[in-house]
């Protein structure tokens, strides 16, 4: 069966037998975008977080059929080294990653949070950012999330002027 969606700005049509296949595996193995990670396959760790129509979605638990006509963004489409997303910029400034495996999921969750709440408090961060990082880089992540909010607001203000 054919399923069409937009991913990282480009139109894409895939042909797949089992339309309940988790979007994660379509993204990783069919479209070869390996930045979205498999951690648990049970929506428990958040390593597979990407955006569907701007909302954070755990893609290991999202049947690909639901992606029909939707707009998907993965870490590869969030920003590039030439033009990093404010969240990525903040992650670089604070030197957040250690092993790095969970980081795309955290950055996608953070980007979704800033879309909804441009100035998250520590409490907002605690509630919304519930992915798991075994290296426990949480301390720098929190700093980076606040920094990303600053950068985002700067950009928004700059655009207003």
């Amino acid at each position: 069966m054919k399923i069409s969606f937009t991913i990282n700005g480009a139109a894409q049509t895939i042909d797949i037998e089992d339309t309940n296949t988790p979007l994660l595996w379509v993204v990783r193995d069919m479209l070869d975008l390996k930045g979205t990670k498999f951690g648990c396959g049970k929506s428990a760790c958040g390593a597979c977080t990407l955006h569907v129509d701007g909302q954070a979605i755990r893609s290991c638990s999202y049947a690909v059929k639901f992606a029909e006509g939707k707009n998907i963004t993965t870490i590869e489409g969030l920003g590039t080294s030439e033009k990093p997303h404010p969240v990525q910029q903040a992650w670089i400034e604070e030197i957040v990653p250690q092993c790095g495996y969970c980081q795309p999921g955290f950055m996608m969750a953070t980007a979704a949070l800033l879309n909804e709440n441009p100035n998250p408090t520590d409490d907002d961060i605690d509630k919304n950012i519930i992915n798991i990082c075994r290296c426990a880089t949480y301390y720098r992540m929190r700093k980076a999330i606040h920094r990303a909010a600053e950068l985002t607001n700067k950009n928004t203000n700059a655009q207003k002027l």
């Binding site: 498999f38 428990a44 790095g100 495996y101 950012i129």
Partner: protein
């Protein structure tokens, strides 16, 4: 005296812009294992014990003048690649952006004969890597001298360019076409003050790859025409495979082959979801001879049960019945690694040759195990390491590489196999549970006159493929389980550290910091209790028990700095109390002060001050990052995590029920201070895991009056 090394094969590769590759494989010990053993016993830092003597590649220089280091150690988040790049840049005289680090594969580079672990990578490579980089620099200078017709003594190097008498040539040009190299005696290393990169907080060299989601992990590896596999393993501890009905699974879409092995069934399919869907249709019979219980495990791991090994002995032993002798028991649970990237491998077996792409901490062991299992010559197995999505000791055991190879052999195509999260939790190589009996007695001055640590644990290093059991014979103990188990208070006249060892019915092994986490929890909780009994400030109490020898001075320095930086007080203020603890692990003393509150029986850590003496911090920012991560991982292990046995199965099998510290549990403030008490780098990644559990328990004791004696720490 220089020597010709033209006898060695030089690897010259085309493509990818790589030219006249420079190789150097001279840093080989006559008997690395022996050296390693004595090194560990003497200094706790075994020397690097690399494999191989021929055609071993440390460095390449590319056409665009980039130096590539083939690292014998892997990068699992600890920042080693960055530190190694800094070391290379300084002695090779190149800039940071002219250095690239890749993990050495067995076919093309020198891999470490032991492992990447024990917080030893930078400590081990500090001397040899600087010497090799300096030697390489001199070798290229020699070639430049020939090409420029200038005496080598008038040449200087900077940023990958050799200059002299108004002429200059890049390293790449100087090295181009060279087939025979003159290897000079090891040149003098630069004095520390001349280093431009060593000792500086340089950003991680893998930062961009990790922030922009590049495919760098074992899970991201692919080979052409690759198939995907899942494996069904027993859920019950000790269960044995009886048989399976595979009819339905075989007929599922995409399934290529269902393979029944000794104690598992594998399904190979075209895609991973297809293999997974077929797994749901597989009906496997297991023989469960016994349903192990939590009580069984507690009985096995119990002081007085198993082999007794005296680790430390001084003066006479305490009589538990004697007036004034205090005894407190402590316990810690089974711990899971729970690293984010599942274990797995991409394997291709063809014509008695195997290629394995894998996240491993033991490249050489993985190679040997696959070769042995398949009956291949060692050199016909090429293991290519990737970045690791966390190590923490879990990837010191890579039997899944064998399984992936066996699956590939069965289907004649490359196969990617990785664990489900349930397999990770049920077939981990766990941190064994522990039981501790602490005993102590105060003298008339309120100082400790006797202190004993009796502790029981399962296998950590014993039975491990990376540590010869002979070593345990020499030390007469499990070198893993005893980490942090000795008494660091050298002025206490009567001391004992006695380990009791018993194997468990499930695999236990290395878990970041090994015995340190639980041992320090027991010792430092007890010492704190004795300080309270003596009505003394717990930090002052400890300082009075430490000799002024070199180790003692360093330990005292971290304790004093910690209480000073944290403003330690014994008072409870606004519902918050401070807790103090210190440990010495692998020669790196660490002291921590935590600020804790207890509200509605919930223990919260607000602030941690951490002082670590790690000798030379090659990259102080990454040393701090390791401390921050170790502290929160230590909070997770000490306050949240616990595996148990439920109906004969290891439980839980997923994050969530396996309760771990999240963002909201992380201290809002972590203040790390580094002390350089030695002129070489010392272990970093594990020592800061030591004090945290006891420090939190000690703070809780001050707020509530209650002594928590079991991990994870829970009120009520």
């Amino acid at each position: 005296m220089s020597k010709k090394i033209s006898r060695r094969k030089f690897l010259v590769r085309g493509g990818l812009g790589t030219i006249g590759v420079v190789a150097l494989g001279t840093y080989v010990f006559r008997n690395p294992l022996r050296r390693a053993m004595f090194g560990m016993i003497d200094s706790f830092v075994p020397p690097y014990s690399g494999s191989g003597t021929e055609a071993n590649l440390w460095f390449e220089i590319t056409k665009n003048n980039t130096v590539i280091l083939h690292s014998p150690k892997v990068e699992m988040g600890q920042g080693t690649f960055t530190s190694l790049a800094q070391i290379v840049a300084d002695e090779f005289d190149v800039s940071m952006n002219q250095v690239q680090v890749i993990g050495a594969a067995t076919e093309t580079g020198i891999v470490d004969g032991m492992s990447t672990g024990g917080s030893l990578s930078v400590a081990q490579l500090w001397q040899p890597l600087r010497e090799m980089a300096a030697t390489m620099r001199e070798m290229i200078k020699n070639e430049a001298a020939k090409k420029l017709s200038i005496d080598v003594s008038s040449l200087s190097t900077k940023d990958g360019v050799i200059s002299g008498s108004g002429k200059s040539i890049t390293y790449a040009k100087a090295a181009e076409g060279v087939t025979k190299w003159d290897v000079p005696d090891t040149p003098a290393l630069k004095p520390m003050k001349d280093y431009k990169f060593i000792g500086k907080p340089i950003p991680r060299i893998d930062l961009n790859a990790k922030v922009f989601g590049e495919p760098i992990f074992g899970m991201d590896a692919e080979m052409p025409d690759m198939l995907h596999a899942v494996i069904v393993r027993p859920e019950h501890v000790g269960a044995k495979y009886k048989g399976a009905n595979i009819d339905e699974a075989e007929k599922m879409p995409g399934v290529v082959k269902v393979i029944q092995m000794d104690n598992w069934v594998g399904i190979v399919a075209k895609t991973y979801p297809e293999a997974l869907a077929a797994k749901f249709k597989l009906k496997v019979d297991w023989d469960v001879p016994r349903k192990w219980t939590e009580e069984d495990i507690r009985e096995i791991i119990s002081v007085g049960n198993g082999n007794e090994m005296i680790v430390q002995k001084g003066g006479s032993s305490l009589d538990p019945e004697e007036e004034g002798v205090e005894t407190v028991e402590f316990k810690s649970p089974i711990g899971a690694h729970a690293q984010m990237e599942p274990n797995g491998a991409v394997a291709h077996v063809k014509d008695n040759k195997a290629t394995i792409i894998i996240s491993t901490q033991v490249i050489g062991v993985t190679q040997k195990q696959v070769a042995d299992a398949l009956g291949f010559e060692l050199e016909n197995v090429n293991v290519i390491p990737t970045y690791l999505g966390g190590g923490f000791g879990r990837r010191l055991n890579t039997s899944h590489a064998i399984e992936a190879a066996q699956l590939s052999k069965e289907v004649g195509k490359p196969v990617k196999y990785f664990f489900t999260r349930k397999e990770e939790f049920q077939h981990d190589m766990f941190r064994p549970p522990t039981h501790h009996i602490m005993r102590g007695k105060l003298d008339e001055n309120g100082l400790l006159e006797g202190l004993e640590h009796h502790f029981a644990s399962g296998n950590v290093a014993i039975g491990s493929v990376i540590m010869p059991d002979m070593l345990h014979g020499i030390l007469n103990a499990d070198v893993g389980a005893i980490r942090g188990g000795s008494i660091q208070y050298s002025k206490v006249p009567n001391i004992r550290a006695v380990q009791w060892h018993n194997p468990l019915p499930f695999a236990t092994s290395w878990w970041r910091s090994l015995g340190l986490l639980a041992n320090t929890f027991a010792i430092e909780s007890f010492v704190d209790e004795m300080a309270i009994k003596a009505a003394k400030n717990p930090a002052e109490f400890r300082l009075a028990l430490i000799d002024d020898n070199e180790d003692g001075k360093r330990l005292k320095a971290v304790i004093k700095t910690a209480i000073d930086k944290a403003g330690y007080t014994d008072e409870v203020t606004n519902g918050r109390a401070m807790g103090f603890a210190a440990s010495t692990d692998a020669g790196a003393p660490c002291a921590q002060v935590v600020e804790v509150s207890v509200i509605d029986n919930q223990v919260r850590v607000h602030k941690v001050t951490c002082v670590l003496d790690c000798g030379v911090a090659v990259n102080p920012d990454q040393v701090k990052a390791q401390c921050e991560g170790a502290i929160i991982m230590g909070i997770s292990a000490s306050m949240h995590e616990k595996m148990t046995l439920k109906d004969g199965q290891l439980y839980p099998t997923i994050y969530g029920p396996y309760d771990m510290a999240l963002m909201k549990h992380s201290p809002r403030e972590i203040d790390v201070h580094l002390i350089q008490g030695a002129d070489v780098p010392l272990p970093v990644g594990e020592p800061p895991l030591g004090p945290i559990g006891a420090a939190v328990a000690n703070a809780v004791r001050r707020i509530t009056g209650k002594r928590l004696t079991e991990l994870p720490l829970k009120m009520g």
